[in-house]
């Protein structure tokens, strides 16, 4: 994580190129009046959400570019404001470049906290999940293993292990799981998680 706090500055003056790499949180200002400044210089964005960054000390026009637009994109709002969008979980560097300098902002995009589990009462995946009730009880309350109270990722992980034959391949759960698609297993897992 400390790498994301590095403030990396380089001067475009031909005779002097100073590049400083710092292993821990630290900042080096070479010449504030020449270098474009962006704050914050590192931030975390939840996928599907936005964050603003402020720019100052701009010489001439400023360009902004993401090193990996599939994770984070950048859009100009006005002369001193840019908006970062978290497209999907991952990391990206947004590089701001003016006539004389450049500045990078490190973006970490995190997954939606609820892992796409539907709101309680949602019916997405309900009919699919009801295939499990005959053995695991209505709403997964139990018969064979209780499913309500398990996390979505736990249930999905177990279904995947059954479906790829790595868990009890000759058992009845493998036979069931093998008949479902990944997307269906995901919906089922999310539904049981939404019931807790």
């Amino acid at each position: 994580m400390s790498l994301h706090n590095i403030f990396d500055t380089s001067l475009s003056k031909p005779s002097i190129t100073i590049k400083l790499i710092v292993c821990f949180i630290s900042t080096l200002f070479v010449s504030p009046s020449f270098a474009v400044s962006v704050t914050p210089n590192a931030t975390t964005v939840v996928a599907g959400q936005y964050q603003f960054v402020s720019v100052s000390n701009v010489n001439g026009s400023l360009s902004a570019k993401s090193s990996n637009p599939s994770y984070a994109t950048v859009t100009k709002v006005d002369a001193s404001t840019y908006r970062i969008y978290g497209a999907s979980p991952g990391t990206a560097k947004i590089e701001f470049k003016d006539k004389k300098s450049e500045s990078k902002v490190y973006i970490t995009v995190t997954a939606i906290v609820t892992n796409n589990a539907p709101k309680v009462g949602s019916t997405a995946g309900r009919l699919l999940a009801s295939n499990c009730f005959q053995c695991h009880g209505t709403n997964g309350a139990g018969g064979f293993e209780k499913l309500v109270g398990e996390s979505s990722s736990e249930i999905y992980k177990d279904l995947k292990k059954f479906s790829n034959g790595s868990e009890d391949p000759n058992g009845i759960m493998a036979a069931h799981a093998m008949g479902f698609t990944d997307a269906q297993m995901n919906l089922i897992a999310n539904y049981f998680a939404s019931l807790r």
């Binding site: 019916t123 053995c135 479906s163 000759n170 009845i172 036979a175 069931h176 008949g179 479902f180």
Partner: protein, 435 residues
């Protein structure tokens, strides 16, 4: 607007799908949903319509019996493993008390799909109920075997016991009374019939029981099908002696005549062009089956058809709007079985809740998946299992081809662990259906 939504919206203001103004324009139906039949499918559809609509859709369950007797596990009554058929009785009381289903005991004698009424009869006389949606889960009627003269013969002389109850008890007593050195004959009709593995399971558990009780008696199976209809490897191994008994299994036998003499029946059949016959002290003919006559009278069957064609995302009849058919009486392309009927019921319930209440209550399922499990005892202590996953594709339910695997899939041989799991499966399935 989708057709279903259109029908429900226009129905609620008194217009039928054909656009005519119904006489009961301003009157709500007696019940929004009337369910006929309180078995595996009927009980489940009544429960799930209530559960998934947050009890906002009114449901009546019309059933002629006081309770349901489970076919699943009834073969264990034949061997004495279960002491009585009464251990397999399931009440509708929880559907009433937990979910507010209105149980009405009576026999349906007429359905009017245009005026949306059901006429039923009981000790108090005849009554009419109006509905918005009708769900039929009536189970099956049984045909006569060639040479038989009356359905009453199944009740008194040669029970099929393919609808559990008094016939199960009769068959059990016949088996107990049968002398050693005498034979049991079971006949299996051409598919489709209720519970594909069932007849083979029955042959196995009876043969297992005869081993110690009447060691010189045999079980002979005359199968009209040319091959074993489910778990062929497991049953073939069982018939060949894998579990200590043998069964004389004869495939491709078309039954030509059944001559009933109590204790000394003769069954004539044709196999590979040859006319043959076999004698039986106990005869258990499993007859050809069809949807009850009420359905053909209501126009729910195609000409010459035996079961009701339905839309497989909603189980609504393709011949009459507003009427759904689930369970053994419909054509689903999947086996006729209790576990499957339970899931068909859920698919139907979801569709009805969506149609009547909209997307806040139910997601419209355009591509349902159905998985099924079925445990089969082959001795008094060991069982196998069968599982199949079906995916919706172009109007039909087909065995899933996901993960490069073929469906259905079966247990590799019988075990006592499977037997224990069978009991837990049965208990949980019945609780999911009736409670």
């Amino acid at each position: 607007m989708k057709r279903r939504e259109f029908i429900s919206k226009t129905s609620s203001i008194g217009l039928s799908a054909s656009g005519l103004l119904l006489p009961k324009l301003a009157q709500a139906a007696d019940f929004q949903v009337v369910v006929v039949g309180g078995g595996m499918s009927g009980a489940a559809v009544a429960k799930y319509i209530r559960l998934w609509s947050n009890k906002s859709i009114s449901v009546a369950l019309l059933e002629k019996d006081a309770s349901y007797t489970s076919n699943i596990m009834s073969n264990e009554v034949l061997t004495g493993k279960r002491s009585s058929i009464n251990t397999l009785s399931f009440s509708h009381a929880n559907l009433v008390s937990k979910y507010g289903v209105n149980k009405i005991q009576g026999t349906v004698i007429g359905i009017d799909p245009v005026n949306k009424t059901v006429t039923y009869s009981n000790a108090s006389g005849n009554k009419v109920l109006t509905y918005e949606r009708l769900v039929l889960a009536p189970g099956l009627d049984f045909d006569l075997m060639p040479g038989m003269s009356s359905l009453a013969e199944y009740e008194t002389i040669a029970p099929h016991a393919w609808k559990a109850g008094a016939q199960t008890t009769l068959l059990r007593s016949q088996l107990v009374s049968m002398p050693d050195y005498q034979n049991v004959v079971i006949t299996i009709p051409l598919a489709p019939y209720r519970c594909p593995p069932g007849p083979y399971e029955r042959a196995c558990v009876i043969a297992d029981w005869l081993r110690t009780k009447k060691p010189n008696s045999k079980v002979i199976v005359l199968d009209e099908n040319s091959q074993i209809q489910a778990q062929a490897t497991n049953f073939q191994n069982a018939f060949n002696g894998a579990y200590g008994y043998k069964v004389d299994y004869r495939p491709g036998c078309t039954i030509s005549n059944v001559h009933l003499i109590p204790g000394a029946h003769t069954v004539s059949y044709v196999q590979a062009g040859a006319g043959l016959s076999v004698n039986a002290a106990v005869l258990n003919p499993i007859p050809p089956q069809r949807a009850p006559r009420l359905l053909s009278e209501t126009g729910l069957l195609n000409a010459g058809g035996k079961f009701a064609p339905v839309n497989l995302t909603t189980y609504e009849s393709t011949l009459k709007t507003g009427i759904h058919v689930i369970g053994d009486a419909c054509i689903s392309g999947m086996p006729k079985a209790g576990h499957i009927g339970n899931q068909e019921a859920k698919t139907c319930a979801n569709a009805i809740v969506f149609a009547l209440k909209g997307s806040q209550y139910a997601a419209e399922e355009v591509s349902p998946v159905l998985n099924s499990a079925c445990f089969t005892p082959v001795t008094s202590t060991k069982a196998t299992w069968l599982s199949a996953v079906y995916q919706y594709s172009n109007g039909v339910m087909i065995p899933s081809t996901q993960n490069g695997m073929t469906q259905p899939r079966a247990a590799v041989g019988a075990s006592t662990k499977n037997y224990e799991q069978m009991n837990k499966w049965f208990t949980t399935l019945m609780t999911d259906t009736f409670s």
